[in-house]
Symmetry: C2
Subunit: 186 residues, 2 copies
């Protein structure tokens, strides 16, 4: 038996926290198959897949509006750096995937910012990366939001919006009003 003093220094593990919200989450059962109780380990060489098809997606959403595979996440290490990173890829032909202000079409992918909001359809996910050292696996920790992640800033009187660029609440209108997209970005 190895004593605590002799044991190898324990590695910290990168953990991706994902907080889910759907406006109908109380009535419907879309999140029934997600494990909100405890962290789960994912091998670094596996893709974490989210979607309707439980044969392919470990993170299974029970909703006929969700695609077979909605999106996938891969863990990787940046070239010429020791930094680990996640990349998110939209696997749905029908639904755009919005990561903060970036709209991903089918098979588009981007690096996941350390803290961001992922949207598709009526789904909202707050993703937060807690960095760790281990390279063989990472962990996911799922949470359920009780209130919407994108705050609907329904102000009592109309507020002036800056003429150029986004207002600070421009992505709060996801799913209700069309988002204002800069032409250079679309």
């Amino acid at each position: 038996m190895i004593s605590q003093e002799e044991a190898e220094t324990e590695e910290t593990v990168t953990c991706l926290h994902m907080t889910f919200y759907h406006p109908c989450q109380e009535d419907k059962m879309m999140f029934r198959c997600l494990n909100f109780r405890k962290r789960e380990q994912v091998r670094a060489d596996e893709m974490a897949k989210f979607g309707r098809d439980s044969n392919i997606c470990h993170y299974n959403l029970l909703d006929t509006r969700v695609s077979r595979i909605q999106f996938s996440l891969q863990f990787y290490r940046k070239l010429y750096s020791s930094e680990s990173c996640f990349e998110i890829k939209n696997m749905s032909k029908k639904t755009k995937l919005i990561v903060d202000k970036t709209e991903l079409g089918y098979l588009n992918k981007i690096d996941l910012p350390w803290k961001c909001i992922i949207c598709f359809g009526d789904y909202q996910i707050l993703a937060e990366i807690q960095e760790g050292e281990a390279v063989d696996y990472f962990e996911t920790h799922l949470h359920l939001a009780e209130v919407p992640i994108l705050q609907e800033r329904r102000l009592p009187s109309p507020q002036p919006v800056p003429e150029s660029g986004f207002s600070s609440s421009s992505f709060s209108s996801q799913g209700k009003n069309p988002i204002e997209i800069d032409e250079n970005e679309s």
Copy 2:
């Protein structure tokens, strides 16, 4: 029955041609499980995995020196563009993956140039992308090289090498002599 005139225009399919070479390919059977006879279709949402473990890797290399998963390829579409692309990722903790002059460590990844040479251990693969329009799947077409892909330019008399930068034959020495790496790159 739909006549040829009424049928939808047939889509061209992106095909990744991969020409394999290993110095012992005649004696040993490392390529026995690869299908060199015909093109194979891969779904766009799947990773094409190359390695020793046939339970995980469709492209199976029968060689104890090869890692369980040696490398993977994913098909994706560039953001704000209609261009399709492949990305290669080194899945081996033991062996570097060299794509032209770029050395990938474990979990490092880069875009595959439209024509490039991939090396790991004694393996050499010439990869060539033939562009197509289809986005739901791509094809792979494997070939076997009869001569080394990296030409050993064993010239009869010593040749002068430029003092700075790589000589044009600098990556011809893969696997035999150590490659000269710029410090900024390593």
